[in-house]
Symmetry: C2
Subunit: 201 residues, 2 copies
């Protein structure tokens, strides 16, 4: 298996866990928060700014001005007219391309499918699940309040869809963007992983 | 495996062949043109009318009038205000529900996912493939003229998308409609089948 695997996922669908298990199966790196950390270190952005990049997909001139024109320290990539969020996205994209250059790996979220779209060795996967399954999962696995679970899921999905639509310019739930889409709660996490590994070969 | 499997597919993606192989794997019935034949016999419609139902998704008052108000012979299901295409769709839907009642099977096309959407034992699959793969396939497998292949594919996809959108009221390429979406040319037909069977259990 010589591919870079990107995973998009509905909130609470188990996409992150599935990604980890695929990475374990092939003994390849897994990037999620690690990606944020690495990007933050390399670009000089504070980690918390990266963490909130998926929370907001807006242009903010004030932020850009407040951050100064050269957030990369000595490097100036010509991003100076962009919002903070756009610059964070570009720095993340740079990291995604670097880790993809290093060899096969699993990258969850952050529009990695779009960032790497010109490459040959990419497989783009999307994990979805029924709302009932996701509610159960965010309560039991993430410790979410049972009364708020459905609301939290919908807000996070909306946020991810907006993030994708803003940066990619295409709809998050358009199957044209993916090679494989799996509803995880039909087969369960482990059989979904087995199915993906069968597909990847 | 106790499921009814519906398969939507891009033109030239190998969806029909994958469906046949899944049916063979589980030794369950496969419905495609057989479905048309059976529907035609049961409803009294001429077979060629069913064959062209996916070709047009339009309301035609003239057709309805020309066909008379009671196309079901002695039975009148109250469809008399509907176009011929709508009545064909309803008759097909009736057949889809009947074959699904008989037990596990594979049904290709004809919005079977939508017709059976209230049922518990349904798995909805969509097969897609890259344009290059589909061009190659329609030339070698369907004997299509190489100069016309891309055009034929786009027209047929458009037709199927219109048919789905018209009858289901949702977008054909919205991953929300499916449990599993597979790009067949990445893994090839046989490994795609193996992947689906792994998923189904």
């Amino acid at each position: 298996m010589d591919k870079v695997i990107t995973i998009g996922r509905q909130y609470g669908s188990g996409g992150r866990e599935i990604g980890q298990k695929i990475a374990e199966h092939y003994d390849i790196p897994f990037y999620d928060n690690e990606l944020i950390t690495r990007a933050a270190k390399e670009s000089g952005f504070a980690e918390e700014n990266f963490a909130r990049a998926e929370d907001k997909a807006t242009n903010s001139l004030l932020y850009s001005l407040a951050m100064g024109i050269n957030v990369y320290g000595n490097q100036d990539f010509g991003f100076t007219g962009l919002s903070l969020d756009d610059r964070i996205f570009l720095a993340q994209s740079d990291v995604i391309r670097k880790v993809a250059d290093e060899g096969p790996c699993v990258i969850v979220g952050r529009c990695a499918d779009y960032v790497l779209k010109e490459r040959e060795n990419i497989v783009n996967i999307f994990i979805k699940a029924s709302m009932n399954y996701r509610i159960e999962r965010v309560i039991t696995q993430y410790g979410e309040d049972s009364k708020k679970a459905a609301d939290v899921i919908m807000k996070n999905d909306k946020r991810r869809a907006n993030y994708y639509n803003y940066h990619v310019g295409e709809k998050w739930n358009d199957l044209s963007n993916y090679d494989l889409v799996i509803r995880s709660d039909f087969a369960g996490i482990d059989r979904s992983v087995a199915c993906i590994c069968e597909y990847l070969g």
